[in-house]
Symmetry: C2
């Protein structure tokens, strides 16, 4: 059976035309996809466990009331929220490709909301820690990138809610906004990972500046954590940018979307977009 | 005239079929493309100028023999090579879309080679500086990410040379390697920009750790430089990931590639890939 996905062959001038049955088929059930998702989840869990180990073994553990340990809440919350959950929220359209669009969309929005709440706890932790210690806020490159990433992420979530979950937004407007939503989604994940690397380096240079250059275990552990974060980002970006692993609309959605388009745009279902 | 690019409408089951004349037309000559390229180049030049100003005004200038000033060669070379030239090398297929594929390919390879040579000078500068000062090498997250970025970039260049410039590599092998080459190309640019941000933060925490939290001009300048680097990366990633701005094969290339495919694969020019 000829594949229904877009051919990567740039020289092919004739695009394959697919039937509705073809479009509804789980075209991405290849082993490659499964392995890549498994690798990304393994990397994501390893990153969370290593951050926990770093805070637990070398930084004295985590506590909200103790001003010294409150700082340690920050990296753990930001990595769980802004990296792992944000990343996995982007994957749901690839993994749950045979579920209905609406339930996948709600899961996508819910995971991002959870990520935002956990990240907010992480932000409060570091601002409270600074206040208790009398340290300045918002002067470092890590904090500038972090506030930019969090603010744009919140804005992206709100725009996504308005465009894709509010009824009454036209098919045409959704179609025009969607490529921007996808581009900024991947970009914000990458910016979040970059900010995390800046945070790791900043914490190392604040806490172990005297021994970092002697390859002490804490420094090596945190450096490896940084490289695993890069690998997690690369694995997710790879999965998200493969044309052949994109979610295809289910047969009933195709029919429904045609009706919706006709209703909102007044176009013939058979008309070109 | 109906656009010849792939429709972003996921619900359209019928892909447009284009004539060879359509494919050869400069479909990306939209104002949006021109503005985005202009914005990216403005950001790229601003980043180089600000790095020069940082080194010149606050770090005492640049010199190879003076061990204190040799360090300052490093950021300037890495930003010119690993960020600006590497980024612009990725843009040549979009900007020179009406030039022949072969000359565009040679320019792409040449810009990357120039980037590698300039980056190598920047690497030698920092290793020599460390040696003269008796500092340790390769212990920080910045150095780990930097060596990974440079090594994979060199490997990517060598693989690109073998697959795309050596005669005798089959059309099928080139087609299968190309999506990986493109994915790793954009990924390495992002990793290079991330590494640059780590380098900026590291230099600030080494050189102005006492005054950074007081929002001194040097710290603010370097933070803005970091944000402009993020914007440069985002502008380039946007240009490179728009389907409608991809280079379409020229009419004569289409005919030639069919012949090449037939010769190397033994397929009929009209056969499906």
């Amino acid at each position: 059976m000829e594949s229904c996905t877009k051919s990567p062959d740039l020289y092919s001038s004739v695009a394959p035309v697919c039937s509705m049955e073809d479009l509804a088929a789980p075209a991405a059930s290849s082993m490659g996809f499964t392995y890549m998702v498994a690798a990304s989840q393994t990397l994501g869990l390893a990153v969370i466990l290593m951050t926990g180990a770093w805070m637990g073994v070398y930084r004295g553990g985590i506590a909200w009331e103790n001003s010294n340990l409150q700082l340690n809440v920050h990296p753990l919350c930001m990595i769980v929220g802004m990296v792992f959950l944000q990343g996995d929220a982007l994957l749901v359209y690839r993994i749950f490709r045979n579920e209905s669009k609406r339930s996948t969309k709600i899961l996508h929005g819910f995971l991002h909301a959870l990520a935002l709440v956990i990240a907010l706890v992480g932000l409060i932790a570091v601002f409270e820690y600074h206040k208790k210690k009398g340290y300045s806020n918002m002067y470092s490159l890590h904090s500038w990138c972090g506030i930019a990433a969090f603010s744009f992420y919140l804005l992206q979530w709100l725009l996504g809610l308005v465009f894709f979950l509010c009824p009454g937004v036209s098919f045409s407007l959704r179609s025009r906004y969607k490529p921007l939503h996808v581009f900024f989604g991947v970009s914000l994940l990458i910016l979040s990972i970059t900010t995390t690397l800046l945070g790791i380096l900043e914490m190392l240079l604040f806490k172990i500046s005297d021994s970092y250059s002697s390859f002490v275990p804490e420094g090596v552990l945190a450096n490896i954590l940084g490289l695993l974060l890069v690998a997690f980002g690369a694995a997710l970006a790879y999965i998200l940018t493969r044309d052949e692993w994109r979610r295809s609309p289910l047969a009933e959605e195709l029919a429904l979307s045609m009706d919706f388009k006709t209703l909102t745009e007044g176009e013939s279902p058979a008309g070109s977009h």
